[in-house]
């Protein structure tokens, strides 16, 4: 277990280093002069010079890279060129929309997918299985931003149950949660469909195992065997997918936040791209990649704790 953790930790560090190098390269090196990229072709020479020195562009590349990385360790993500505030403050503001949204969507997707997958597996070939599998096919194929538009049309414009967008803040938690509901459903739908399919196929695999036959032989009914023995074992692959989904939901919020005018990280990165505010783009992308890599690491470790076979293999 310790060897496995160390090996995974080592590859985690390498992933983070390479990721930061790639992001640095794409943003700081490839556009040539980031300052003139940010300010456009009509920028005055003195404005350019001011931005260059603020971004530290007069210094060698390696120094700039290390400055950036060390800064991030200290919580200093640089200053936004358009907002004139530290990027860390912008992120701290926005994360309180994006993170709850991702968690909300993850909970919804799990709540939908678990029962759906279990019912489909336990009634394999039956009417409910066919219906659920048909629904998941649709769920995977629907573009979530289109689904969001349809929901706005139905629940916000026609029924007026929810507002069509915006976020009132967390001063009234219920109101905040309510305004995240439609976005969370649109984010959760395709994920729930994928998760339900994996839950079902993972359960079906396990139902063929010897220990299920043993359980049946000692007198358990099919559904008792399913609930007591199969579900728990089927959770292992499902757990991995949930971990991957969390990072997807966090990043996938970019489009959904755009539709619902939610002031989250996605909207921040999108506005920063339109304003060519590379400092914000660089840091938010790094933060998202960092989160994804860390979550994957956590999933791998949990996986090894839950499934001892994995430790021995590595």
């Amino acid at each position: 277990m310790i060897r496995y953790t160390i090996a995974r930790f080592f590859s985690l560090i390498i992933s983070l280093i390479v990721a930061s190098l790639v992001i640095f390269l794409v943003i700081q090196v490839i556009p040539g002069d980031p300052a003139s990229f940010m300010l456009g072709i009509n920028a005055r020479e003195d404005t350019l010079a001011a931005l260059r020195s603020e971004m530290g562009l007069d210094q060698p590349l390696t120094l700039r890279y290390f400055d950036w990385v060390i800064g991030m360790f200290q919580g200093d993500f640089g200053n936004s060129w358009t907002y004139k505030t530290p990027v860390s403050e912008l992120i701290a503001d926005r994360i309180w929309v994006s993170l709850p949204l991702a968690i909300y969507a993850l909970i919804l997707s799990t709540l939908i997918a678990f029962p759906a997958g279990i019912v489909a597996a336990s009634r394999r070939g039956g009417a409910s299985d066919v219906t659920i599998m048909g629904a998941t096919q649709m769920g995977v194929a629907i573009p979530n931003f289109w689904f969001a538009m349809i929901m706005v049309l139905i629940f916000a414009i026609n029924l007026r149950w929810f507002s069509a967008g915006g976020f009132p803040g967390w001063s009234n938690p219920l109101q905040g949660l309510k305004s995240l509901t439609l976005p969370a459903i649109s984010l959760a739908l395709p994920q729930a469909a994928i998760l339900a399919r994996i839950m079902r196929s993972s359960l079906l695999d396990i139902l063929l195992e010897d220990f299920i036959r043993t359980a049946r032989a000692k007198g358990l009914t099919r559904s008792q065997a399913l609930w007591r023995h199969a579900v728990r074992n089927a959770l292992i692959p499902v757990l991995t997918i949930i971990g991957l989904q969390f990072s997807f939901l966090l990043a996938g919020g970019i489009i959904i936040e755009q539709i619902f005018f939610l002031p989250g990280l996605g909207r921040l990165i999108f506005q920063a791209i339109s304003a060519r505010d590379l400092i914000v783009v660089e840091s938010v992308v790094m933060l998202l990649v960092f989160t994804v890599i860390m979550v994957n690491f956590a999933v791998d470790i949990t996986y090894a704790i839950v499934d001892p076979r994995l430790r021995r293999k590595s």
Binding site: S15, V140, A141, P143, W146, V152, L204, I255, F270
Partner: protein
């Protein structure tokens, strides 16, 4: 043949046919704006109605099919053209240092949130269909590399590969002449799945304005234009969304059906 495969193939061919026909004929020219004729609901002259510029929605969907299919197909092409040789090489040199480097590189690409990186690429290099193709294509590479390696590895233990070795064939020749033909079916299956993901990704990118630029029609852009009009003219939002949904659904059904036929790893008793 399974029912899913038939329905899927039918839906896919339908949209491919729409795209092909659009090269020869569309009901109306989509570059001529007719504001006086805007936001008409579906009628005999305009089967799917008109949009906010008075353009015929059916013609837009046909032209959009062309963009979606071209972008997704080329992106899958990039993934296959780079990923499959990488996977074949890794399998041939299994356990070597280069194999390790290639596989860890794949893991790394998987760790990046693809949408964020696609946005990053189009943000730095400019929004265009070509950059969308590259951005989507990059994330197809590890998918094909991993799959190729995984299915090629057991083949290297088989007798026919051993015979080829005895004949003195090099690793490269064995990969090309013996391994590749045996994994081609699975590549087609995976290609279908990646194709459908590519359609969705293209729609997302052009929806946020980072895909094909006007006047090129694309389904995602049609949805973006329709967003503010959804309450006055729902058909402009419903039609392109349904087009994406049906095309992706068709490709997924086809992919699943093909996999059931071709993939020996699928247990027969599962479905």
């Amino acid at each position: 043949m399974s029912r899913g495969l038939v329905i899927g193939a039918f839906l896919t061919l339908f949209f491919v046919a729409l795209a092909c026909v659009s090269f020869l004929w569309v009901p109306y020219d989509i570059e001529t704006l007719q504001i006086s004729n805007k936001l008409k609901t579906p009628n005999l002259n305009h089967w799917l109605g008109t949009d906010h510029f008075g353009r015929d929605v059916l013609s837009m969907v046909m032209m959009g099919a062309r963009t979606s299919i071209a972008v997704a197909l080329l992106a899958v092409g990039i993934g296959m053209a780079i990923g499959v040789p990488l996977g074949l090489f890794s399998a041939a040199r299994r356990g070597s240092f280069l194999d390790e480097i290639i596989m860890r590189g794949n893991d790394l690409i998987f760790a990046f949130p693809s949408l964020v990186i696609a946005i990053l690429i189009t943000a730095v290099f400019g929004a265009s269909a070509v950059n969308a193709i590259v951005a989507i294509g990059i994330f197809n590479i590890p998918v094909f590399a991993r799959l190729t390696r995984a299915v090629a590895l057991p083949l290297w233990e088989r007798d026919f590969v051993l015979s080829a070795r005895v004949c003195g064939k090099s690793e490269t020749r064995i990969s090309v002449e013996h391994i590749f033909p045996n994994i081609m079916n699975l590549m087609i299956v995976q290609g279908t799945i990646q194709f459908s993901l590519g359609i969705l990704a293209e729609a997302s990118l052009s929806y946020i304005g980072l895909g094909a630029q006007p006047p090129t029609a694309s389904w995602g852009r049609m949805l973006a234009d329709a967003q503010t009009l959804v309450s006055i003219a729902p058909h402009v939002a419903l039609v392109p969304g349904l087009a994406i949904l049906l095309m992706v659904l068709g490709l997924n059904l086809m992919g699943d059906g093909l996999r059931d036929r071709f993939d020996p790893r699928i247990k027969k008793n599962r479905t």
